[in-house]
């Protein structure tokens, strides 16, 4: 890719992914009490985990899978179906799941 020189950008993403995973593991082991407050059916800690995961996924897709450098039409073709269908499916199933016993 003409945009890159050398391999520093690969190692930059590597360190980002490593640090985020490290933070997740440390949080998962110590489970700080102030993050365990319940919100919208889960805890703040779980929301932190999910946000960190989405950041990691973003770096993998954008940089490692090169989507950042693709044309706009390609980005829409990949992002629209996944960003609409997956949250929709998640919303429906998790909502249903909490009602299955009642």
């Amino acid at each position: 890719m003409a945009e890159h020189n050398g391999t520093w950008w690969i190692w930059k993403v590597f360190w980002i992914l490593l640090v985020i995973t490290g933070v997740e593991v440390v949080l998962g082991i110590i489970k700080p009490a102030f993050l365990l407050t319940p919100v919208i059916g889960t805890s703040i800690l779980n929301i932190v985990f999910i946000l960190l995961t989405l950041v990691k996924a973003g770096y993998i897709v954008q940089v490692f899978m090169h989507v950042k450098y693709e044309k706009k039409a390609m980005k829409y073709a990949l992002y629209l179906p996944s960003l609409i269908l997956i949250p929709y499916l998640t919303f429906i199933l998790l909502t249903e799941g909490s009602y299955l016993f009642s």
């Binding site: 992914l17 082991i29 390609m74 990949l78």
Partner: protein, 306 residues
Amino acid sequence: MSSNADLVQDTNHWGGGSRPMGARYGKLMMWFFLLSDALTFSGFLTAYGLMRFKYESNWPIAENVFTHFPGLEGDQPLLYVALMTFILIMSSVTMVLAVNAGEKMNRGGVTNWMLWTIVGGFIFVGSQAWEWYHFIIGDSGAVETTRQEILHVYNAEGERLSFSQIVHGMEEGHASNHGETFTKSEVLSSMQGDASLYLKEPGKAGRAFTHAESVAFLEAGDVVQGANMIHNEYGRKQFANFFFFITGFHGFHVFSGVVINFIIFYNVLLGTYEKRGHYRMVEKVGLYWHFVDLVWVFVFTFFYLV
């Protein structure tokens, strides 16, 4: 001035003859396969979420299930899976380095980085086999009631005990059964002999039972050690089913990725892409390999962390 044909193409990218997505056929098809695969995996993970929200109060907590680390004694929650995640991220990095070397037509670089990627993939699949082995063999053992509820043994201090500890005593026994099997009558007589022992459901809000109720549960029910698709000592059998299915499906992807990477690596050695004049095949398998890493990032969060 450009010709009339060029003008038509400039205003209508979708009329054929041009490349509106700026990507070649092979790469596009790989991407659409990955998109459909992403939807498949999200189907599995959200189905897991549905079961988990349904059985929220006594769903097994992953860090009480996956506690082993090779060479270390005692509880090591999350460490092993963190190592597996690190290995997969690392092999994703070596894959980008291989693609990067391919764009520069650096055959030695591609060979080197593809080899490291394959090694990383093998270590990951091996680690998964190790984790499955320990999951299947089991750890502390559990009581399964006639209503197929799983209950764990606790003592007065609120510590969870293994069958080994209650049958052989706290001094002689191990916190893990280490593959030793125990019969229902052995466990039952030890339970009857110690009035401080009681049974409790797994999970964040599992109910606890009195000693008398616990003995009655075991008398009517049975002991379970290890996990398979029907019985599972860690808790709900759906937990084991989803574990086998999701990590198994992901592990199958990793395994196929290793095989495909090896085929590409072999072709790099033969000089196929040197003759072809480009290393686009490396880029395509690279996309697949990163996708496997991407899925693992989500499996790691939803199976082990949340």
